[in-house]
Structures are given as structure tokens and as C-alpha cells.
């Protein structure tokens, strides 16, 4: 991993940081950066895994971005987590750190009126170190390639829909985290293999300490206490959602490419299932799909919670 642009000198003591690994996501980057700048992210740290579509050049020119590049194997680096972990250890100690993919958009209680720092300040005063935001798969109505995504566009103008209440929740005894699955991906791509359906639980926002480490993607962390983002005695802790803009017209090509590279989790089972599913041109939309309005809707539906933040 080599530095392309290291602007980490600009990181201040209280900066909120964002980390992400990507490969060939040029078209998504402008909106992604704008979204998180507006929320109040102060500095971005990217690892580019051998993009050849101009992603690297684009990121390199952004004033609040530090960029590293590597052509090493995504799979052998624990799906990018080794790269991320080394950056976290070096630059994130003591900072609120958001680790997301470029197709994940954080929504949290009051995010329309309160910047990310309001949330992190509140987490600080409440003595909370980690914040949960489950993946919410968003999809368009009709075939995925019917509405092409334009650069800079809000992807949720196209992928407006989501499944509101078909998620499986269970506890992972080993690391104490919850294991969430379900949604359109389980419904459409894994109906015969529910246990293979992708995990949707994520803990993307953490007041980082160099002793911390993500174990598997951002699904769970060490030490185990960080995974206790849920209340066990009946109450609700505050949580958000990561709106997932995966299912756009760009998806079919991505699935094909990732299958060929074979660099993904569990021998790319997920992408294989997608590719097989995609051959039949699926429409993830169903008559019970919910159209996205705002975070309050997600709160009422019980997908996220304000907890005691008011």
C-alpha cells in the first residue's frame, strides 16, 4: 500500500474521519463525497485497490482526501480490512471514525437537522463508543438497468424502495454481536440458502482506539464490548441505517466483474447468486416494498431508533 496523496496533516484533534476501500467506483464518488461533507466529515481516507476508471485521479485531486493505492489481493487482505486497520491504527486513534463503502450512506436520528458532530458529541457525553447502522438495501421499481445512474446524482432518486420488515435477527455468541440478514437479497437471491444471505448488521461509527480492530468487514469488532450496540433488557439504544445504493444499473457489470476476479467473501458466493439471479432479470420491487421518505419513517418502522436521544 503506497500513499498517493497524504494530507493527514490537516486532521485536527476533533476531526471526524471517514475510511473506505474502493475499486472502479468513479461515477459514485462525487455524490458520495458531497453527502458526507454535508454531514460534517472532516477528512477522508481512501484505499484504492487498483482502479483503472479514473477513481484514483479524481480522489487525488480532492483537498480533504488522503489516498493510498495497492494492487494487492483484496481477498488476501481480509477483504480490504487489513489496509483499513493499518490506516485506523495510524491516523484514527481518538477520532470518531466512520468506515463505509462508497455505496453506503449513513442515516441517523435527526440527520436532517443535526450534523454528524451533534451525534458524536452526544455519544461522547453518553459514554458510548460505537454506533450501529444496519445495511438497508435500496432498490428501484422495475429492472435495475431501466434508470441509468448519472454522476453526481442522489442514487436514492432511483433506488427509492426497501423491505420494511423481513429481517432475521439472531445473536452471534462468539463476539456478542447481532447477526441480521434478510431484505430483498435474502428474498430474491438466497431463498434456498438463507444462512448464506449476506449479513446486514454493521457498526460503522466508532470512537477509534488503536487497540480496536474490525473482525469481518464492519460487521463486528474487537474488543467484544464494542459489539454491544443493542439493549438486552427491553430498551432501545440509538441506531441508524446505512442506505445501500448497490442495486443500480451499475450492478450487473459489477457482479460480472467481481465474479471474474473471485476476490470476495466465501468464494464470491454472494456475487454468484446475484449473477444467477440477474440472468432472469429480477425486479426486487414487490407490492409491499416501502418507498423511502426520511429517517423518521425508518424509526417508526422499527429499523432504527432514537434511543434516548431527543
Amino acid at each position: 500500500m503506497t500513499a498517493v496523496a497524504n494530507r493527514t496533516g490537516a486532521i485536527r484533534g476533533d476531526s471526524i474521519l471517514l475510511l473506505s476501500t474502493l475499486r472502479n467506483e468513479r461515477i459514485r464518488l462525487p455524490y458520495f463525497l458531497r453527502y458526507y461533507r454535508d454531514l460534517g466529515v472532516n477528512h477522508f481516507l481512501f484505499v484504492d485497490n487498483g482502479s483503472d476508471d479514473g477513481s484514483r485521479e479524481y480522489l487525488q485531486s480532492q483537498p480533504d482526501v488522503s489516498l493510498w493505492t495497492t494492487t494487492a489481493s483484496y481477498k488476501k487482505s481480509r477483504f480490504g480490512m487489513d489496509w483499513i486497520t493499518s490506516l485506523q491504527r495510524r491516523y484514527c486513534h481518538g477520532h470518531w471514525t466512520l468506515t463505509v463503502d462508497v455505496d453506503e450512506f449513513l442515516v441517523y436520528p435527526f440527520c436532517e437537522t443535526r450534523p454528524l458532530r451533534a451525534l458524536t458529541d452526544w455519544l461522547d457525553t453518553s459514554g458510548i463508543r460505537s454506533f450501529s447502522a444496519m445495511i438497508l438495501d435500496m432498490y428501484p421499481k422495475g429492472q435495475m438497468d431501466a434508470q441509468p445512474y448519472r454522476e453526481g446524482q442522489d442514487p436514492f432518486e432511483i433506488a427509492q424502495w426497501f423491505d420494511s420488515c423481513n429481517y432475521s435477527v439472531q445473536r452471534n455468541a462468539g463476539l456478542g454481536n447481532l447477526w441480521l440478514q434478510g431484505g430483498p437479497r435474502a428474498r430474491m437471491f438466497f431463498p434456498d440458502d438463507p444462512e448464506m444471505a449476506p449479513a446486514l448488521n454493521k457498526i460503522p461509527l466508532v470512537k477509534w482506539n488503536r487497540a480496536y480492530a474490525y473482525v469481518s468487514s464492519t460487521h463486528m469488532l474487537l474488543p467484544r464490548g464494542l459489539n454491544l450496540v443493542f439493549d438486552e433488557w427491553g430498551g432501545e439504544k440509538a441506531s441508524g441505517c446505512l442506505l445501500h445504493a448497490k442495486f443500480l444499473d451499475t450492478f450487473a457489470a459489477k457482479a460480472e466483474e467481481e465474479m471474474a476476479r473471485g476476490q470476495h467473501y466465501a468464494n464470491s458466493t454472494e456475487y454468484r447468486a446475484y449473477r444467477d439471479g440477474l440472468k432472469s432479470q429480477p425486479d426486487l420491487w414487490c407490492k409491499w416494498s416501502e418507498k423511502y421518505i426520511n429517517w423518521r419513517q425508518l424509526e417508526i418502522l422499527g429499523l432504527m431508533s432514537k434511543g434516548n436521544w431527543a
Binding site: F110, T113, R114, P115, R117, A118, D121, W122, T125, S126, G127, S132, A133, M134, D163, S164, C165, N166, Y167, S168, V169, Q170, R171, L178, L180, G182, G183, P184, A186, R187, P191, D192, D193, P194, E195, N201, V229, F230, D231, E232, W233, G234, G235, E236, K237, A238, S239, C286, K287, W288, S289, E290, G302, L303, M304, S305, K306, G307, N308, A310
Partner: protein, 569 residues
Amino acid sequence: MTQNGTLGFVMLCHTALHRAAETARHWAERGCPVVIHVDKRVQKWSYDTLHADLADLPNVRFSDRFACEWGTWGIVAATQAATEVMLADFPSVRHVYLSSGSCMPLRPVKELIAYLDERPRTDFIESVTTEEVGWTIGGLNMERFTLRFPFSWRTQRWLFDRYVKLQRAVNFQRTIPNGIVPHLGSQWWCLTRQTLSAILQGPERQTYDTYFRRVWIPDESYFQTLVRQVSSNVESRSLTLSKFDFQGKPHIFYDDHLQLLRRSDCFVARKIWPQANKLYSTFLSDDATAQAGGEPNPGKIDRLFSKAVERRVKGRAGLYMQSRFPNEHWENGRTSAPYSVFQGFSEVFEGFESWLGKVTGTRVHGHLFAPDRVEFAGGESVFNGAIPDNAKLRDYNPKSFLSNLIWATRGERQCFQFGPGDNQALNWFMSLDANAQISVISGAWALPLFKSNLNFSDIRREAARLQKIELEHLAVLRHSATKARVRIWTLAEFVENPMEPLQTIVDEISPRSLRRLTEAPRLTDLTGFGQFLQNLRNQGMQPVLMGDFPAGDDLRQAETRRGRPYLVK
């Protein structure tokens, strides 16, 4: 610069000093002297900046600095020092208002002055006896005053707890000087010069200070207790709107609380998020014209925050999600709404499901836990919440399946059929769920076998299997821990008099309709069923769940029922 008036503010500051400066300037420029205490732990340059920011204001003073660790004497010492400066330097001041750097005035200060002018002798301080407070941290009320607390609650919790335990064990008690009665209350008060000078210049001050120095969280008890010794006119409430969450941390106000704060009619609120630009620009300007201007009325804000605490502590019943996953028996309700489970009814009656839907106006499903697929009402392939009818997905996590279904259909009661041929994984879950209404006609599963065209040896094997499953299920339902509303009839018992049980169940589902059922669904034909059971017996299988069906001689109703609806007056 207006002349100094009768109201002065003491401000205790430790963070966001630029905001404290704005608030201090706001008050000072409107004729209210301000004495600022800055926590000793604040760095020098921040302090110097604040000092310089306010240098142009003649009625702003800075008092001696103390380290104000939460729960310790430093906060009281700081308050005393700053108040002494106020009383000495500003003789016009009659009421001293204790505030913090993160407080903000919600109403024009002249309204507050007018309010106090009408009550010139009143001390506004929340002051209640230890028996009456319900909000203390760590479960310590009276013991705050009778134990010693050398360890920090925040940073040395383990030692803190051990030391408290130890003192309890050996029955240690500090004596309270002069037999004063300890009172507790919000730290934020507004007291008169007379009262404050009596406390601060009283002959016993040294005694009390020595004592309170070792009381836990003295800032919530020092003035609150001593005011009772010197004032005869205590109004036991705080003029500062300040709410605490379940951890004892103050709730924070943001820009989106603007309207709520406006309508509260409170004079001062804390704590304001330092970057709440809209709040600061609104309330620190004089445009905030006088509102209705009556008594403070924080009711709406109270409700907002108490709801937040309730959500954090109790949560929404029946919801399982990323940040609420209660341990078993801690759910406050395993599911979110009442639902009904029918076992054997669709076997005994023809067209039971559509009849039930019509009579009760509820959603009636087939066998939701059928082995091959989820039989949603109307044969839907996907249901509310985008729940698919796939049996594998359902069986992967049946508990999530059921709680999701009930959650996704809140407001519409769900009814479904169940039987020994279905997935039995949730038998305990439903039996322990107070929302479940479970009605069982035991042995009714034999009717489809009776009518089937299977070889008798296969029928016998299947009957034995289903009977075993149902027996186990009934044992669960009859367990003493059961919380569901369970009713069980044998098949024979039920067909003898089907109307009464149906009426009871329907009344329970829709209690408001309370009308007699005029039409029952048609009973299925039972001719020959007694003989069928006898055949099972003859083949060595003992059917025990159906009740008494005489072999050969069929039950009387069975014949008359055919072709005619069951009518009741």
C-alpha cells in the same frame, strides 16, 4: 450601557467558552452584572481568550478558579467564590441567578427581571427532602450525607462501589451537623442577596463547609439544604429548564428544538449544544419578542424527554432489531399485538377461514407454518413488510418471522391456522406470549386422514406421528408458565356443542361487536369417523386426543348438519 439592575448572573463555565462569552455579553449589555467562573482545568489560552473577549464590559467579573470535577466540592467552592464577588462588587443586585456556560436565555431578560421584581423576597431553588426524590444516581439518597466518598464515581467506580458496600456493612454513619435536614435539588437556582449573604456569612459556615466537602454531589445539596435554615420564602423549583436522561446526564437542546423552547415560556434553558447556531442567533437577539409571557410551562419538553427515556429503558414491545434485542423474559411483550392461533378448526369446519374473517374483520391466514410454504391469506406470495412465503426463509428464523409479521401488521389482528403437521419451533415462544390466543381442537388432525385416500398402514403411521407431536404441544400449552390465552377441547367435546366455544373466541377477538353469532361455519361430515378411530385401534394405534367417539354409532349432529347452516336464535 444600561445601568446595573437587580439581577446578576453567576456563570460556571468549562467548555465552549465562546458561547459562554456570547451569553455573558447578552446579559451584561442588558444591565445584568455577570461573574464568570472558569474551571481550573481549562487551558490558560482559552481562559485568556474569554477574558479578552469580555474585556470591554465593565459589569463582568472573573472569580477565583477551582477544579470542578463532577460530583465534588469544587463546584460548590466555585459557586461560593463567584457569588461573593457578585454580592461585594454589585450592590444593586437583589437576585443572583446561577447558570452555566451552556445555559441560554429563552425569554428577554427584562421579563425575568419583571418576574423577580414581583417576587422580591422569593428564593427559587428546588429543595426536597431525600425521601421525596426519585432521580438520584447510583441509588444513593440519604447515604450521600452519611457515608464518605473518597473515590470518583466516574473514574473509580469499582472502588466507589466497594467502599460504599464496606461502609454499609460496618454500619458507618457520619453525623450531620446541627441536626440539619438534608435537601436535594437541581444545581441551578436563583437566590436573594439576603439568603445568600446569610449562608455565606453565617457563623456556622465553616462547620457546614467542612461537612459538605465530603458529601457526594454537594452541588445538588449544599444550597438546597442551607436555604432551609435561612429563608422563609422558598419556592421549590428551578427557573432553569434542565432535564436529565436516565443516566443522569442533562438532555441537550439543538436547533430543531427551537419551537418547543419558544413555547415553553421558560426563562433559561440548559444545556444547549454549542453549535446550535440557530438557537443562539434567535435567543440572543432582542427580536425574540415577548411571548405570552406567563409562568414557565415546560410540559411539552418534559413529555418529549420522558418519552425518550422510556424508549431507552422499555422500548417498543415486540420489536427485535439492531439496537433492541431483549434477552428472553425481558421483552416487555414477546410480540407487538394480539393474534389468534387456531388448531383443528379448519379441519372441523368447512370454509372456516373465510367465515372467521367475515365475522371478526381480521386477517385470517392458512397454516403459516406449513412445511412447504407460508399460507398467507388470499394465497399471497409476499405479505406486509415484504415477508416472502418461502418456507426455508421462515424456518431459518421462525421467531423473527412471526414477530416481523405481527409487527408489520400492527393495527390489524392476525389469525392463523396451526397443527401438528406444521413447524413446531415456536410452541414455547407462543405459549409464553401474552398476546397469543391459542384455541385447540385436539385430535382434529385425524379428519383429513380419515378422508384421505391413503393406504391404511400409511394412515396409521401418520396418525401416530401427528398424535405424538400434538401431545407434546399440548404439554407445552398446559405448562404452568404459559401466558397465552389457551383453550383446548377434544374433537368429540367440540362437535357436540361448537357454538359456545366459537362465540367465546370471537368475542375475545372483537369485544366491541358483542353480538350473538347467527351463523356458524358448516361442520364437516363425520359419518364413519367413529369406525375409523376403531380401525386405528384395531391396527394397534391408540388415538387418545379425540375424546369419546363411539365406534359404529356416529354422533347425532353429524347427520343433521349436512347441507344446512347451523342456526342459533
